[in-house]
Symmetry: C2
Subunit: 197 residues, 2 copies
Amino acid sequence: MGQPLDDAGLDTLFRTARSFNGYTDEPVTEADIRAIYDLLKMGPTSANMQPARFVWLLSQEGKDKLASFSSGTNAEKIRKAPAAVIIAMDLDFNEQLPWLFPHAPTAKDWFGDVDGRTPHAFRNSSLQGGYFILAARALGLDTGPMSGFDNAAVDAAFFPGQPNIRSNFISTLGHGDPSSIFDRLPRPEFEKFNRVE
Amino acid sequence: MGQPLDDAGLDTLFRTARSFNGYTDEPVTEADIRAIYDLLKMGPTSANMQPARFVWLLSQEGKDKLASFSSGTNAEKIRKAPAAVIIAMDLDFNEQLPWLFPHAPTAKDWFGDVDGRTPHAFRNSSLQGGYFILAARALGLDTGPMSGFDNAAVDAAFFPGQPNIRSNFISTLGHGDPSSIFDRLPRPEFEKFNRVE
């Protein structure tokens, strides 16, 4: 139903957009972060569960803390980036359903115990992580998503006393420095990973 | 680095976009599907693994087959939609890394056994599912993502003899009929699910 994007918009989101290793000195502000969240939160999730929980790190102290739990080259990227973010998930997302999915009073009980809820939290917080990446790009920002870090250590450091909150992935955020990246990696022809029936 | 989208673009992707229960009679073509994939495949995945595998159902026979494994109201939505898609994942995605991540010849062995690879396949195919939803919107199409279906039955029916391929979620696809949806469900204030440090 929406108006299709023009070529510049498709480039910004997908075609020329890249993940960045380094960024310009231009800062990321709390207003930028709130604008990203105001877009990404509109993306669809199962039963409107919105299980993603975000910790946005603007301070050097916060970025250094996250970097200390990240592998090799990732740590340096995080320390130097204008901002970093932890995309986490709430395994007890169902506690929020009475107000997020108000027309179905039993929705809180649809997703079983924590083992039953975990794949829903993982799938839907990952979807929201994808919305984060594309919302940042839509606003002219760039990201550098990463999964090479010590999840348990990040969870203990950033979510103490909240065993229901688990980190999913992390990302840097800023205005990308083109000199920090290499050529784009291969993308397949349609036939490789798709079929039509 | 990209040019920020204008208000119409942000509406198309996030602000006024919706998941649809029903669609107009306007068909979805194979050209539409290929255009969606050409965008979504550009989205980032860990080590360029691109674990998502897509089965696009344009025929009534294909849609009926998927509907037969879907719960209650989902089945009827699938049968009547112009198209449906299975977003699946390849747990043996690492076999593709020699050509998808060619500068790191050992990448094929980075992700361990199938238990180690599964969360990477799940996270990254979910990200690619998010790219699918937003790529469709960017091209003026609409989606109706769903996870209420019998995964094992879908896998047996659509991926026989391929135990490494597992369905993640499914979606309808078409040009949304505004009369098929209700009011948008609640979205939280920033403070509810975010913090800044």
